[in-house]
Amino acid sequence: MLSVHQLSVRFTSYETGLKKKETLVTSDLELAVEKGQVVAVAGSSGSGKSLLAHAILGILPGNARVSGEIMFKGTPVTPKRQIKIRGKEMALIPQSIGCLDPLMRIGKQITRAGILSGIEKNKVRVTNILRRYGLPDHTANMFPFQLSGGMARRVLLATATVGKADLIIADEPIHGLHEEVASDILSHLRELADQGKAILLITHDLSRSLLIADKVVVFYAGTTVEEASATAFSGEGKNLHHPYSRALWQALPQNGFFPVSGTQPVLDHLPEGCVFAPRCDKTKFICKIKRPPVMPTDGGFVRCFHA
C-alpha cells in the first residue's frame, strides 16, 4: 500500500542579514505498510514522525523540501497526486487538537470530512461515528473549546475514519485517553486493518500499540534505526537489535523507568557516524566515522554495526 524509501526533509530559513540556512530534519527514513497491516511508528520526540506523516500527505509548510521516494498503491506520490488523494484515499488523524476548526460545530466538521472523502452529504452518519468512539450524541452541537482533551482527540479520529480512505495515518490517536477508550480505539483501528485498510500508528504508547501492531518501526534523530516484529518487544527486549530500541523499551515506567543520559543530537549538527553513538554503550571506533547501513534481521532491518 505505502512504502517510503530514503526520505529526507529540509527546511530553509533566513537568519539575520537574509543569510539563507538549510536544516536537514530527517534523513533516510524507511518504512512500508501493506493492506491489512498495522505498523506502529515509535521513537524519540522530535525524530520526525509527524513530519513523515505530513510529507506523505503533502502538507508540509512551504519552506520544506522533500527528497526520496514515496510509493502509494504502486505508483510514486507527486504533489499533484497528493492534492487529489488526501482526505479521500489517505486520511490523517493529526497530533494537534488545534487542527479542529475552533468556530465550527463538531457535527459540521465531521460531515465536511465525510463529503471531502467522497460520501454524499446526506449519507454521512455523524451520530453513528460519534457513538463508535463513545461520544454522546450532543457532542455534534458542541464547539471544540467545550470538549475535554480526550473528547477532542476522539473527534479527530471520527473525522478521519468517517470516510473511505484506504490508508489511515494516526498521529498519537490515544494520547491522553483512559484505558477503556484507548483500547476501544485501538481495536477499532485493528478492525479497519482487518477490513483491508492499512494503518500507520504513530505513538509514544509503545506498550499499548503492541496490542494491535504487526510491526514496529523505530525512529531516532530523523532516521529509521530498526524495523522489528511487534513480538520482539517483550521481556528485557533481548530480541530487539538496536541499542536505542532496547533503551526505549526499558525506559517505560513498567519496565524500569531508566533514562539514558545525554540527549538526541540537534538535527542540523548530527554526528558523522551513527546518530546514536554519543549515547550508546556499545560504541566502537567505526560507529564514530561511518553511518551504519540498513541490514536485514529476522523481523525486519536494523541500522547498527554491532546488532
Binding site: F11, A42, G43, S44, S45, G46, S47, S50, Q95, S96, I97, G98, Q146, S148, G149, G150, M151, R154, E172, H175, G176, L177, H178, E179, E180, V181, A182, H204, D205, L206, A247, L248, W249, A251, L252, P253, Q254, F257, F258, P259, V260, T263, Q264, V266, D268
Partner: protein, 203 residues
C-alpha cells in the same frame, strides 16, 4: 499546603455539576496522582486549583492564604496540549522570559533541548519539544505548587523518564508540591506518594 475545600463547579447553571463538594490537599514536596475517565473533570479541577476557573462554591488556599489576584502565581499549571498555552507569534526565548528570569541556555540544557531552539517559533518545534519548553517555563523561582495535566504523554519513554527525573530533583530540592494528572497508571505508580481517583473525590 495547597488546599481545595468543598469545591463545586459547573460550566453553565443549566448543566450538570462537573465537580461536587470536592476537597483535596497537596503538601510541599509531595506528589499526588489524579486519575479518572476522559471527561470526568480532572482538567477542570486542575484549573480551579490553579485559579484559572472560579468554583461556584468552596475555596482554594495556598499556604493558608487565598491565591494572589495579580503577579506571578505560586501555583503553576501545565496542560496536556502545549500548543494551546503559548503565544504562537512569539519566539521561544520570549515565551520563556514570561516565567524564567535567569539563564535560558542552562534551562534548555537541563531539559535536553538545543539552545538554537530559543530563536524558533512554537510551530517549528515538535510536540514533545514544545512541551519541555512549557515545563521549563512553569518552574520559575516563585513556583510553590505544580499542576501537571498529562504533561509527558506526548514524550517518548526515555525523554519521559528523563523529564520526570529532572522534575523530581527540582521539586524535592525546592520542596514544591505536585498534582499529577495522568491516564498512565504505571507512570503514576512510579512518581506519586499517593494516587486518587476523581470518582472517589466527587460527592
Amino acid at each position: 499546603m495547597l488546599e481545595g475545600r468543598n469545591l463545586s463547579f459547573r460550566y453553565h447553571p443549566k448543566k450538570d455539576w462537573i465537580l461536587k463538594n470536592i476537597s483535596l490537599t497537596v503538601s510541599p514536596g509531595q506528589v499526588i496522582g489524579l486519575k479518572g475517565m476522559s471527561g470526568e473533570g480532572k482538567t477542570t479541577l486542575g484549573k480551579i486549583m490553579a485559579g484559572y476557573l472560579r468554583p461556584d462554591s468552596g475555596f482554594i488556599q495556598v499556604d493558608k492564604y487565598p491565591l494572589p489576584k495579580k503577579g506571578v502565581s505560586p501555583v503553576q499549571m501545565i496542560f496536556q496540549h502545549p500548543e494551546l498555552s503559548v503565544n504562537p507569534k512569539w519566539r521561544i526565548h520570549k515565551i520563556l522570559s514570561e516565567g524564567i528570569a535567569g539563564n535560558q541556555t542552562l534551562l534548555m540544557d537541563e531539559f535536553g533541548l538545543s539552545p538554537s531552539f530559543l530563536n524558533r517559533y512554537p510551530h517549528e518545534l515538535s510536540g514533545g519539544e514544545l512541551q519541555r519548553i512549557v515545563i521549563g517555563r512553569s518552574l520559575g523561582k516563585d513556583t510553590r505548587y505544580l499542576i501537571a495535566d498529562e504533561i509527558t504523554a506526548m514524550l517518548d519513554a526515555i525523554t519521559q523518564a528523563q523529564i520526570w527525573h529532572t522534575i523530581m530533583t527540582s521539586i524535592k530540592k525546592r520542596n514544591i508540591g505536585v498534582l499529577a494528572i495522568s491516564h498512565d497508571e504505571n507512570l503514576l505508580n512510579r512518581i506519586c506518594d499517593d494516587c486518587l481517583h476523581i470518582r472517589d473525590l466527587n460527592n
